[in-house]
């Protein structure tokens, strides 16, 4: 048994940290009136592509790094700490769908270009109801041997940056299937939604008979596999964001003086920070365990991923709110970064299912475990 990170994990994390601290800044977003359009999405993505993170999980056969979920967490934690805006998550989700659902030909065609930084993907699951797990009102049907999708998708992460979209739609049988859809065609309209977290792009898709190519794999296998990894990625963002919020707040509490003492000397603040540290430790532990279980394809992995998402999103929201309370009124202004973390926390809490929905799953999975 060994909880310590291996050296290559640490190396990966350190390089990501240095890169992000040097290359990516939130300055343009803490200017009042800033929107996700000011987030330098494109430039940041170019820089990140040079780091090769887009190919992290892609098998080496397709030009990727062929790394594991644990390696992924090292990168995503740093992205979550810095809130570095880029289509990394959106493209990752699309990539996961193709890794699990694509046949050799599709993988060859799509993944090699993703790994090479020539292609960005996105994954369209939810619709206006806002549930990633369906049902899909968007319909896919074959017209003269060609599949065509008509319908509206929503809350699609980073769709405006993607050239190829992986779209979940209902086939004639009403069953969810995954399709590759070229974003460039005129039957596809992408619009950015006014998502409160301006560090993250979230879009609607309008598909009006858009040409689509079904992924070969069994859709019933694709969704849970992708979901668990999406939950891991969001949880890693949560745990690292929570830790960062704690760090800036603790620093502030050590230095900010009121009534002749640093505010961290007052138990109301000191104990709140202690609680935040407890939550940070728990969140990170749950993430590392889920990452390990997924990397092992351990049967406990779905339970571990659900636990990580349920725990980390509640804790992150609470900590981000506490940090504003401890900073005081100044932390409530747009010029301070605190609100960006609160909004990331709130958004992540809703993406891929709210904490209480995952607790429902935890109970079911736990009962199976205990039985």
């Amino acid at each position: 048994m060994n909880f310590a990170l291996d050296d290559d994990h640490r190396l990966l994390k350190d390089s990501a940290q240095t890169f992000l601290d040097e290359q990516i800044s939130l300055k343009p977003l803490i200017t009042p009136g800033a929107t996700v359009r000011d987030a330098n999405y494109a430039d940041n993505w170019v820089k990140i592509a040079q780091m090769g993170w887009q190919g992290l999980l892609i098998p080496e056969t397709y030009g990727g790094a062929g790394l594991s979920c644990l390696d992924l967490v090292m990168i995503v934690e740093e992205l979550g700490r810095t809130l570095a805006p880029s289509p990394f998550l959106g493209s990752l989700l699309g990539t996961l769908a193709v890794i699990k659902g694509g046949d050799a030909r599709q993988k060859e065609r799509v993944l090699t270009r993703v790994a090479a930084g020539e292609l960005t993907l996105a994954l369209a699951l939810a619709e206006d109801g806002g549930r990633e797990d369906g049902p899909d009102k968007a319909r896919a049907m074959q017209v003269g041997g060609v599949w065509r999708i008509t319908g509206e998708k929503a809350f699609v992460i980073d769709a405006a940056e993607a050239q190829t979209l992986v779209v979940a739609a209902a086939d004639e049988g009403g069953n969810r299937q995954f399709f590759l859809v070229e974003a460039g065609q005129s039957q596809v309209q992408v619009a950015i939604q006014p998502w409160r977290d301006v560090t993250r792009q979230v879009c609607t898709l309008s598909l009006d008979g858009a040409a689509a190519e079904p992924l070969a794999g069994d859709p019933g296998d694709v969704w849970p596999w992708v979901r668990d990894r999406a939950l891991l990625a969001l949880s890693a963002e949560n745990a690292a964001g929570l830790r960062h919020v704690l760090d800036i707040t603790a620093k502030y509490a050590r230095e900010r003086v009121a009534f002749g003492r640093p505010i961290g000397a007052y138990q109301a603040i000191k104990h709140a920070l202690a609680d935040m540290l407890g939550q940070a430790e728990c969140a990170r532990t749950s993430v590392l365990y889920a990452a390990w279980a997924l990397a092992q394809e351990d049967p406990r992995a779905p339970l571990a991923a659900a636990m990580a998402k349920a725990y980390s999103s509640d804790a992150y929201v609470e900590a981000a709110h506490r940090s504003i309370q401890i900073f005081g009124a100044i932390g409530f202004t747009w010029e301070m970064p605190n609100h960006l973390y609160l909004k990331r926390a709130r958004g992540n809490a809703e993406l891929f299912g709210a904490a209480r929905e995952h607790r429902e799953r935890v109970i079911d999975l736990a009962r199976a475990e205990l039985a």
Binding site: L26, K27, I30, P32, G33, A126, D128, G130, R131, A154, F155, Q193, P194, W195, R196, D197, V202, I248, K251, Y252, E255, R256, V257, A258, F259, G260, R261, Y266, A268, I269, H321, I324, Q325, F327, G328, A329, I330, G331, F332, T333, W334, E335, M336, P337, N338, H339, L342, K343, R346, G347, E350, L351, A354, R356
Partner: protein, 408 residues
């Protein structure tokens, strides 16, 4: 004991109602001259009204759809202007009171500073006496209405060598004076609310604008901040305004969310808290009616109401799911006739972190409650003794510092 409010047939109510029916659109000046702007004040400005009459006037004004003077010019009428009754010179009363209560000159409070936060007494704005005037330099923050104001109630340090609380004085300054710059603050919702930063650079303030004596600034300001107007403060989520738990339950019912047992239970808790907070407000009103002096119960009420309000808007936000993250998306169909800034559920949610910060942070309120109502030992403030310019030497303006610290 009786939980009912003064009835329809109450003669006082009848008289007030008649006045408003005779004047469908009264000017602020008319209201002030009738004594309806500050009924609890002495003549000629008020009616020396007891709490019950004040309440009737409030209600009849609402009924007549006349915007209440204390909402038009809250700082003057709710907090500051009355200090002139006790500390002002006859000339100051003559010059300032009527325009203030008539809403012709809006007032704002130049109290808080970036480096001060809850520790108001440590403020750094300096007013240096030069012959027949003072020269003011410093920075204020969280000033409501500064952009609409004619008069600023300024607390500044006139004696840096005195202990922090002893060296302060209060002035009434003209916001349009040279050297005064007002800059709006954008809150995390992206909205421009009514808050501002105010920069004061070599601002000339005539000596006759001093309120009371030099060194009385702390005492006068504290009294102004503690003044609690008699009113049926609604249990709205945002400092009494905005949506209440009743509207939450009604809204959840409309969208069918109450069928969810977890939402039901949470909503019921909030509904009960909301109703009790309503009763607590009634009670303090009733205490005034029984001529009990206002005590620190106001602090208890706010200590309870602020986090309650946050939970109310938070549950509404949570039931929205993903859609709740979209700007201006509302959880419920709007409540008819509610058009206030905070009646927007989405804005109220994003604004809500402020309610445990503004008007006394939650931590300070709990100190007040614990110390003044339960006799716990006061917090020890090493910076309260000795000359301010020695105890408050080196520190940077907090905002810049904070930004740096936050790595922004």
């Amino acid at each position: 004991m009786d939980f009912e409010l003064p009835g329809e047939d109450d003669p006082r109510r009848v008289e007030v109602r008649a006045w408003f029916e005779a004047r469908p659109r009264p000017t602020g000046r008319q209201l002030a001259e009738a004594g309806y702007a500050t009924p609890h004040w002495p003549k000629p400005w008020g009616l020396e009204a007891g709490p019950e009459l004040q309440l009737i006037i409030d209600e009849e004004m609402k009924r007549a759809q006349v915007s209440a003077p204390n909402l038009v010019n809250p700082v003057a009428i709710n907090n500051c202007a009355q200090s002139l009754l006790t500390h002002g010179t006859p000339a100051q009363r003559e010059r300032f009171l009527m325009p203030a209560i008539a809403g012709e000159e809006i007032w704002c409070m130049l109290f808080s500073e970036p480096a001060g936060g809850s520790d108001l007494g440590s403020l750094r704005t300096i007013a240096r006496r030069e012959g027949d005037h003072y020269v003011v330099n410093g920075q204020k923050i969280w000033t409501s209405l500064a952009h609409k104001s004619k008069i600023g109630v300024l607390v500044a340090r006139t004696d840096p060598s005195a202990p922090k609380h002893a060296g302060l004085s209060q002035f009434l300054i003209d916001i349009d004076s040279p050297g005064v710059t007002v800059r709006p603050i954008i809150d995390l919702s992206g909205h421009e609310n009514e808050y501002n930063e105010v920069f004061l650079q070599d601002v000339i303030v005539p000596a006759d604008r001093l309120v009371g004596q030099e060194g009385e600034g702390w005492a006068i300001s504290m009294r102004q901040l503690q003044t609690e107007r008699v009113a049926l403060s609604k249990p709205g989520a945002i400092w009494g305004a905005g949506p209440s738990a009743r509207e939450l339950v009604a809204g959840l019912d409309k969208i069918g969310a109450l069928t969810d047992p977890l939402v039901r239970d949470e909503a019921a808790k909030l509904y009960i808290e909301g109703e009790v907070l309503r009763l607590l407000a009634y009670r303090s009103l009733s205490d005034r009616m029984n001529a009990k002096a206002p005590g620190p119960e106001g602090a208890i009420r706010k200590m309870l109401a602020a986090p309650h309000g946050q939970r109310v808007v938070e549950l509404a936000k949570r039931v929205q799911g993903l859609s709740g993250m979209l700007e201006a998306e509302q959880p419920f169909p709007p409540t008819p006739g509610r058009k206030g800034l905070y009646d927007d559920w989405d804005y109220a949610f994003w604004f809500s972190p402020a309610v445990t910060l503004g008007v006394g942070t939650q931590e300070i309120l709990k100190n007040v409650v614990g110390e003044r109502m339960l006799g716990m030992p006061r917090e020890y403030d090493p910076s309260a003794v000795g000359p301010w310019n020695e105890t408050h030497g080196g520190t940077e303006p907090a905002k810049a510092a904070a930004k740096a610290e936050a790595g922004a």
